[in-house]
Symmetry: C2
């Protein structure tokens, strides 16, 4: 166990997790939990920043996402799963950090800038949304997280978090907060079933970890391939052919994939055969995940108990950090 590094990662509970989450982060977390101290945050408060008018969606997805975690093999004995809204220290720390960052700096964050444009907020951006990178800085630092698995678009958030860390340590003349290192995701983003750059629930192009066998068949059969590959005998293209992208990502028989690619490009290999292989691969991957999921789903109170225990453990660590933060800021009135 590498005790020096502490991982903080997590998800906004806005929907069940899909293959993109699996390949982009979940599979990695299952490996990392053997080496690092790992906190996995169910970020319900951050889910509310752009879903504040739909709290039931957030509420329902706490359990769904937790089931996905346990189903893929995140082990609560190794990883600490916790609920953000039940850790008041995060809010306390976020409020403190808000003094250390200007509104113009927040507006310059390229990731947030893009999201504000995508959501069409314009000048009417909710304050909670603009400041979410500050809140994330609090998420990470409240457990003294030093390692955050990240994609390209999370880098500006981590940069901003490190600016806050350095400001805090400089202004309060201390070394309470450790700097954060990004652990770049080894896998590039999984495209959606329709070939679009991103798999996402809201785009309707996702294959969920909880999808039953027959739905996987249906979804794979509808997947985007090569639109010019009309007959099996035609030569087909691999580039942009999502079925092959998925086979590259999930099929462990690399030789077979390589042969199929060659055959497909040469002509004579029909989409249906390739898709059947992908269905087999995905159902093999998802079968044990589904089995564990349905086992846990029988007893939601046990799942919630796991979350409560993880949250309690996190709160204790968070309170230790806050004691140091308050001491550095001379807010430790009891001493």
């Amino acid at each position: 166990m590498n005790q020096d590094k502490v991982i903080l990662t997590g998800d906004r509970p806005t929907g069940p997790l899909h293959l993109g989450h699996y390949i982009g982060s979940l599979a990695n977390r299952v490996i990392l939990q053997d080496t690092y101290k790992q906190f996995i945050l169910l970020a319900d408060m951050q889910a509310l920043t752009d879903n504040y008018d739909n709290p039931l969606k957030v509420r329902a997805n706490i359990l769904e996402v937790a089931l996905d975690y346990l189903a893929v093999g995140i082990d609560p004995k190794k990883s600490t799963i916790c609920i953000q809204s039940m850790i008041p220290q995060i809010a306390e720390l976020a409020i403190i950090y808000l003094n250390l960052v200007t509104i113009s700096r927040l507006k310059r964050n390229p990731t947030v800038k893009t999201e504000i444009k995508q959501k069409g907020y314009g000048e009417n951006v909710p304050a909670g949304f603009l400041i979410y990178p500050v809140h994330q800085a609090a998420d990470i630092t409240v457990v003294k997280g030093t390692l955050v698995p990240a994609g390209e678009d999370q880098l500006p958030i981590l940069e901003q978090a490190n600016e806050i860390v350095r400001s805090f340590n400089r202004i309060y003349n201390c070394s309470v907060l450790p700097e954060i290192e990004a652990m770049m995701s080894p896998v590039s983003r999984l495209p959606g079933l329709d070939g679009k750059a991103k798999m996402s629930k809201s785009l309707g192009n996702a294959l969920f970890l909880s999808d039953p066998e027959d739905l996987v068949v249906k979804k794979v059969m509808s997947m985007y391939t090569d639109p010019d590959h009309i007959h099996a005998t035609d030569p087909g293209k691999i580039k942009g052919n999502v079925v092959f992208t998925y086979l590259d990502a999930f099929d462990s028989d690399k030789n077979l994939v390589s042969q199929m690619k060659e055959h497909y490009q040469r002509g004579g290999l029909g989409d249906v055969i390739v898709k059947k292989r992908l269905i087999e691969v995905l159902n093999n991957l998802l079968e044990p995940i589904r089995a564990r999921r349905s086992e846990y789903a029988k007893d939601p109170s046990t799942v919630m108990k796991i979350l409560f225990e993880g949250t309690e453990k996190t709160c204790k660590i968070a309170e230790d950090t806050m004691k140091e933060v308050r001491a550095a800021m001379y807010l430790d009135y009891h001493t």
Copy 2:
């Protein structure tokens, strides 16, 4: 006791309190505590929004301001004095409220707008400063405050707080948060010793409640009167003559003040005689305040104990409010 209305008031602990505070709020609090449930908040977190780089100043003034409170007759058996940073529920609630208000709305707040200009922040306004009205909405509503003693410049803050209250109740389909009523200060603002509109520590024109007798003499003797009233025999002006403004505010012998004004305007009454009357009046007012202050100052740990007890009591009430808030937002995972 009027149990229906709950007062929330308080001060940013950035300096000892002065005569302006006394006449503008403290004297009133001593009266109100007999009729209302009254919370008095030592707003250290808000003091840090524009003093984040000087936490020792905030720390030191917690005790100073508490001593001023007790000295003027705020009775901890009647009023609940509490420390903002020790009430995590305020931060939790503020973070929730940030989703219900836009950045552009925050920028339109005329009071904050003026303050940003005065402080020369421009676009580099710290996020914590821009959002302080949201934080104040949390201060008030976390104890379900319904009545807030206010001057003109606090009205936009209360208006914004009520917008948040209404948004919350509407979006979460509940009536958890009561609307807030402003209790307009009956006294207009006390000018500074130099005649400037506002008495303030930073302007160096304040007479503090903790000033000793001889300093009161010195400060009153240096007060601004009528610059054209050179000789005692000259007729003098009352308007803009701060010594008479103070006599109007503090001298209970209204007849005497009236006679002195007449004599002064007619000519033949020297500034020194008027000032000596004011010194007498102020020292009569301040003498018992000083005595109580020095008594409490002998034992700071007892004063801190009063604050801790008040804070603990406030935390319990705040947690009750948060339980309702979380239930309305479906964040009550334990149920």
